[in-house]
Symmetry: D2
Subunit: 346 residues, 4 copies
């Protein structure tokens, strides 16, 4: 049994880590912190955990030593505290954006702020298990990837590694409201947010930097563009990725690339069926699961390879992926705590 | 390990039983049958089960002997086959309406059809564990209650048993679309069904008969009325029950009644808080769980005790409750396989 | 042509009045005020009005004289300004709660605040046209009714006037998010508000006072109780009203009461059909319309008359009803500007 | 006043035409036909029209002569009847796909069926008013464009005409459920259709043919690809179009192209704002309107011009556009009957 604490546990990401760890057979939850809800029952903030835990939020200043610390703070916050936090835990998994980009300049360019703790950047391993399994097993510091980056990287990685596509990669991302966190604003106000198909970021999405960082080792001059549209859903993320296959590439070769890379991956499913309603990845049936579903279609009219990827942004895109990394770091079976299959219908 | 089969596993109820049993440590699934999908992968019908099972649907005629058989057929079907089915399994849990009502005449009155197997009626125990735990432990035949009846009975039982209310009991039920099963119709057609607040049954709901049957032992001349409204949700069921407290009854006595009956119930939570958004039961955070959440409020202006109950109609209202009964029948811990806490946000 | 201004035009109610008046052939919009958006284009706040108007918000301090002034402020605000506002306009229609209740004590009891302008209370006519048509024609001051009160009063009025029901009247109200206005809060935050069936007010709804005030002249000792549940919809309001018919009352007599009172009402439709999906009132097809649809069913098992009423809370429940009153006050045809039939499907 | 009939008026398109024409001051509706609902009240099928019309469906065989006939049949049907139908009306507007493509071979290639009435193909004018205003004024036969084609063509036309883009044009279309018509199927079954982000057609959308036909006169070798994703909405259509600007093209030139083509168009709005939630086109506020909203953003990281277009698929995408064409054909002001501004919030 390892002792784990969650630093910043009142948000949606922290709540999901807690939900997952509460049924994890190798983990004891030592503390969950919240400045705002310190002293209150966890289940008042996360009502799904009623009768599942009697935990009470600790104030961050009362943090005690633990084996592993999950840090779930808003972007730009964890780099303020990291030097201190690492004195409390041998291993840290940070879920924010602060340690995802290895180059300080890249971070500062995309996030428009100075990095306050650049010396730690090289210590963190980017936490996509499917790409960095061996490094994660050995590291003490993992940076949890962005949800949009996670599904895009996983969808593209085999194609780029196997040299199957060329030219511009266009990621048309369909996003849900939980991605923006739990702070209310006019943009999240139900009468304004309900029913939207909102082009909130036609270009300039910051996860582009992560995608380029992770896929660049396998390709020269990656040209990646994201357009993000917010939909009326709470959880879930689907990317429709428009790519151009290299001349002569066949569907068979695409299948082969995905199988080669992912056949043994416990959380990746290639979803491409001839019939049925769920022929391609569909985020609605992924809610609560750690799966990343990936499908594709060759466009026979316009020369195009359309790739479709789906995840639950709060699980495979955040908390589940982080627990998957934790399992690796401690040698637990990788699926531990992440077995929920998802619901149908939902 | 017991060997379990599901007779009629392509529907929503059968699919949920299968989902739950796939992670049940004491169960081996022997067969799942479907006339229509015989020979096909289960995951083509239940796409959430991809990578979770390689099961293939068997034709009902190929049913083999097993320890326990779940029967998940449309109302009016299982009574046609029961005489035969019981030669295949020592224990049977039937999820349809055919064996819920002990009196043949009551069944025929509410369902407007002749009962084809009345001699078996008295062998079935009505499957609400919280009311019939001891009988279920000993029986071989359980009739799974209707979802609307389940949440109504559980919400009302302590009040009636403790003699706290009088007069008419009005159940205003808010229903979801999965309750009607997987057969498409114009009433389930998305452009017509989306966004509705549809008074589809202002009176005459057949679950009334179950409620009266179960609560009558504790009260004379029960007067129960249901009005059912369909909402734009797939899973979930909330009842707002308008009752009249007897003279002088206080909130404290109501609390006491619920605590007396339910303090040790693993799947019932009394939800009644002073603050927060989830002060009362809310079906959206119950999706996938076996909880029945119950709350109440004394109306100080009009003399009224408003009781609010919520469940996931496919879990506590159908498949989860059935597995809970199975656990009892075999002496497994009652929560086995039913631990999922639900998601927030969702 | 009359000159009309809207005082407080950036909210949802003010925006709807503006939308309706922009196509009203007898009205010139003189000013629309907003403290916060003063100087900005109206269409930046109400994006549906792009290309429909070039109006710019005026600061409230720049209000000029006009023929009629709509006041659309949060509850408790208009009574602060009314003495001043009536120097600017011959006629005023106030949409808030401040002038709906004729008795100061009743207002103060339900709204838990002192009334700041009690001397004006008796000057205001309660603005349900169907009950107060003659008074509205003659008055200079109209108080726009609450949305929940509007649909409840209209649904119940014929039954009570014709002496058809007795005992407790239970209004189970299904509410939408626009009713709470445009101020974001955690309770309106999309991840928390989406998908809810939220019992936010099982008892104690303040519109009870309006209902009792308006129906008391026709009945002794009215016992009215409201339970309000918030749903995942932006517009629309449905009430399921559970009443007890007096002994011997038949469906025919109920029909007769509704026909007697409403046969000539342009905005009331009795919706009670034998077949089809829209047999009873359904708020989704009322979006944007000024209709109040009313239906009913006799419960033949439990002695009950279930009445179902539906409106668009922002139109018949607020802005449309106010324009209907304005039409009466100026002798315009009552339907003017309110002809939109609603959409199907939607 | 012209006498208009609708042939096939029980579907969603026919219902919308009827809704619009009922408030059109220059039109008398002579007949609305339906084989299935012949003899029944129109309002039983289109419940929004209760109290708006007493029309009864005629059987198609009872069709009488009229001035203009709208034909709203499923694809492949109107070409069976056209030879006969044109003996009944001087002018015909056909809403199906049968007469949209001028080349018989192109039709047969995309629709995988033989054209039964190819000799009429050249008589029909493609009904996008903004591109074919002069021809529509003079023609007797208009083919109503597909909804997806309409918004795509309108979004792209100025860019292509002004020679601003090059290379592949990728249309990522977000679709609603009403597009599939009123026939229930498992894919439209609420539990399966609710909440989806369904990649139902990653390539091969038949509207591609219309887009190429209409834009080819302005460009060589158009390379157009559509990927269509179905969302959980009933009405509305948004396209995110990923294009590559020619070298050196500036945002200013894009603005100029749109202004040049559309500044005087009554139903096109360029929506591109610096702030606010509705900075770009948003289909939810277009419900019921005939607007096509178009916006764009230059991607400064990846060389891209992202164009966003939104319509109500049943109005500007079908019925409204058809009435707009009718207005032109008879010299009525183009906006007549199409003034509804849309609702906010909704």
């Amino acid at each position: 049994m390892i002792k784990v604490s969650i630093y910043g546990a009142s948000g949606y990401a922290g709540g999901e880590i807690l939900r997952i760890l509460l049924s994890h057979p190798k983990v004891t939850i030592q503390q969950v912190t919240s400045r705002k809800f310190s002293g209150q029952l966890v289940s008042q903030v996360h009502p799904n955990l009623r009768k599942k835990t009697d935990l009470i939020f600790s104030h961050p200043d009362q943090l005690k030593k633990c084996d592993l610390l999950f840090v779930a703070l808003p972007n730009g916050e964890s780099m303020k505290y990291m030097t201190n936090l690492k004195t409390f835990a041998k291993k840290i998994i940070d879920l924010g954006a602060d340690y995802r980009l290895r180059e300080q300049a890249v971070f500062e360019n995309w996030y428009k702020q100075k990095h306050l703790n650049p010396e730690m950047l090289e210590k963190f391993v980017y936490g996509i298990v499917e790409l960095h399994r061996q490094e994660i097993k050995k590291t003490s510091y993992v940076a949890g990837p962005g949800c949009e980056a996670t599904v895009s990287i996983l969808s593209l990685y085999p194609l780029i590694k196997h040299n199957l596509i060329e030219g511009k990669i266009i990621i048309d991302a369909k996003m849900s409201s939980s991605q923006a966190g739990l702070k209310p604003s006019f943009s999240s106000h139900h009468p304004e947010r309900s029913g939207v198909v909102r082009s909130y970021m036609p270009s300039g999405h910051r996860h582009t930097a992560e995608i380029i960082q992770e896929l660049s080792p396998f390709a020269n001059d990656l040209d990646v563009a994201i357009s993000a549209t917010a939909l009326d859903m709470v959880r879930g993320l689907l990317v429709t990725i428009h790519t151009v296959p290299k001349n002569g590439i066949t569907e068979k070769e695409v299948w082969k690339a995905y199988r080669t890379e992912y056949a043994n991956e416990p959380f990746i499913r290639i979803v491409k069926e001839r019939q049925g309603l769920y022929r391609f990845p569909e985020p609605k049936i992924l809610q609560g699961t750690n799966f990343c579903d990936i499908g594709f279609e060759m466009d026979t009219v316009s020369k195009r390879l359309v790739v479709i990827g789906a995840i639950d942004n709060l699980v495979k895109g955040t908390a589940g992926q982080a627990v998957q990394a934790m399992n690796l770091m401690y040698g637990f079976p990788e699926e531990t705590g992440l077995e929920f299959p998802g619901l149908h219908p939902i």
